[in-house]
Point group: C2
Chain length 413, copies 2
Amino acid sequence: MLGRENAVSVDEARELIARHVPVRTPPVEKLEIGDCYERVLAEDLSSPEDLPAFSRSTVDGFAVKSSDTFGASETLPSYLNVSQEIVMGKESLLALKGGTAAKIPTGGMLPEGADAVVMFEHVQSVDGSLIEILKPVAPGENVISAGDDIRKGEIVLKRGSLLRPQDVAAIAGVGVQEVAIYERPKVAVVSTGDEIVPLGGPLRPGQVRDINSYNLAGLIFENGGEPVKKGIIQDVYEDIRNVVEESLKECSMVLISGGSSVGVMDLTAKIIDSLGSPGVIFHGVALKPGKPTIGGVVNGVPVFGLPGHPAAVTVCFDIFIKPVLSMLTGVNRKEFLSRRTLTARLAKNVSSVHGREEHVRVAVEERDGELWAIPVLGKSGLIRTLVMADGTVIIPPHKRGLQEGEVVEVELF
Amino acid sequence: MLGRENAVSVDEARELIARHVPVRTPPVEKLEIGDCYERVLAEDLSSPEDLPAFSRSTVDGFAVKSSDTFGASETLPSYLNVSQEIVMGKESLLALKGGTAAKIPTGGMLPEGADAVVMFEHVQSVDGSLIEILKPVAPGENVISAGDDIRKGEIVLKRGSLLRPQDVAAIAGVGVQEVAIYERPKVAVVSTGDEIVPLGGPLRPGQVRDINSYNLAGLIFENGGEPVKKGIIQDVYEDIRNVVEESLKECSMVLISGGSSVGVMDLTAKIIDSLGSPGVIFHGVALKPGKPTIGGVVNGVPVFGLPGHPAAVTVCFDIFIKPVLSMLTGVNRKEFLSRRTLTARLAKNVSSVHGREEHVRVAVEERDGELWAIPVLGKSGLIRTLVMADGTVIIPPHKRGLQEGEVVEVELF
């Protein structure tokens, strides 16, 4: 028996990562806000001005002193003289006197002296300059006051916010043009394997093309990192060690994607151990696919050794690497918002080995208004199972499988 | 009464859009696959080669003729001579003879004559060159045959596929370097309003900064389009008309974001009608926020007039613009995969007007392991309600509100 007997559970591996990977925030850069979509704010952003900067009407109508309308009704209206018409985007220099009203469009600036707006619907015109108010308005009614949206000095967005379109819009709204943004953490991808050849070269018998670095680069990018491809390295201790050592200096995390043979995984573990402390923190996980995964930390930088099978790469990324990468981006986000799940019925029985967490790839189909998760069967070495699948269903270690018809949660890719 | 009495329902507006907006696929560009993440494939991609190109072992073990192992057991093992060791990435030039085995690593190429691999776990070494097989293997066991993953000529990905990391990896795996990709559809953003000033300029009384074009640009980009900002245009018929006319020539969709005053919305409608057929298809929707929305089509190009309030912009984008933009990207994706929803309990009663679809912004919080949707109250003119919210809860037109504690579906931003 060639042993991976001391495989840890998924939870133990997670705990080892949490214990050994130090929390680090990335360096900060200044960016124009138009370049900040989906980036992470590196400062508590406080507003330099009131938004709006003045009291605005929220309806088309007449700006009034609200006290002039108290008691007004359809049978006993208040009569007001129209003293002016507010022009959009302009300040009225004429203060509103008692007993008068100013015609105002939605978004118009209230004249001094006015404290509410009566909607057109509650106004009857007597002649060009006299109107009847048919319904009273309370002070502040149909008005957004200066600073009602965002007050000067108020924190608009906190450090660690992942900037969505509306967040960038709010920053524009308070007149800020440049903000401090965390740099995308660099993640090195070291492809190893004597059989791996780059795209574009000829393919000789026994060789396969580099699949995993394309998968990993996409996963890193989608999760806020900047992939740094270090090329394809032959399975030679010194060669891999040199590239990993160089990567540790440049990057915030290092992923070594390689074969799944025991020899190659042992080589990877030896290299991680040789480069610094604590080195390998686990080697082998009770997980399918992804059993030979290696987790390590070298002088504070997380290093993962990933099995060569594409589906194992995707599963390990999701379970172990994504949370670490998320921490390295500096993002502060409710965990449940970053998950994408669907509830569906399992279309087929799936068996599983007791004591091992299994991730089953599934395609999701709608049949008669109900969602069904159809297991995509196939060895984890196949990239097609990942292409055909929409997500994964997790079978926890204490279960021996899932039944057809059972309601399952699908974690979408 | 200044009427928007002929407002259509949300479903009617959707139906009018479906009827009048023609299906168009965008132009095609050729891209290196490393630039294709999250882009849409514009061809049925067929594989130029078998993947893998040869039969590979999926385990560390010994390649054998399976017939040599039939009947083998712990008590009565088969004895085989180790005739060679397969080197990773190399073709073995030595065919396997009956009664012999070849040591092989995971991923190694099977020698001619071998049809299965016995795992190390089921092998006992007698001496350096003789082994005992303790368990039989079936033909093909622990082997991926040539083309098992993807066969030469097979369609790997269909036209319209949104390329995920694993899809790009599969394309790399079959040796394709460049693929046909749909260009991102250009969407013009025309900001109108006499009160709107660009970021960076001074803010005079009565003026507000351009918020909506930042919100729209982000929403367009996140949904696969390329925003084309046409600047801020004063509320002058000829000026807006010229910019919209120019935008119709350059772009696949035009969004006019402006005030919410009746006068300005009427101006927008008149301009859409003046530019071509059929012009305005609806003006006013039984929707909150978003009532003054205008939908139009000018010679096949969809044009939307959006109210100036930020929350209305977000809601209208989600309901009306996103599906049209999705069609314009050429993507072919199961609808339920593009939705991001959460189930939560409503933390507060929310009332609603009968006959109108209401979109309530909510923040989602976890309390004692349960998710709660907390309505973010405030007029739709406030950008802060969007910043504080994680998504929206929809109150359908036939309801008069939702009760505290009710289970609701939150559509996440």
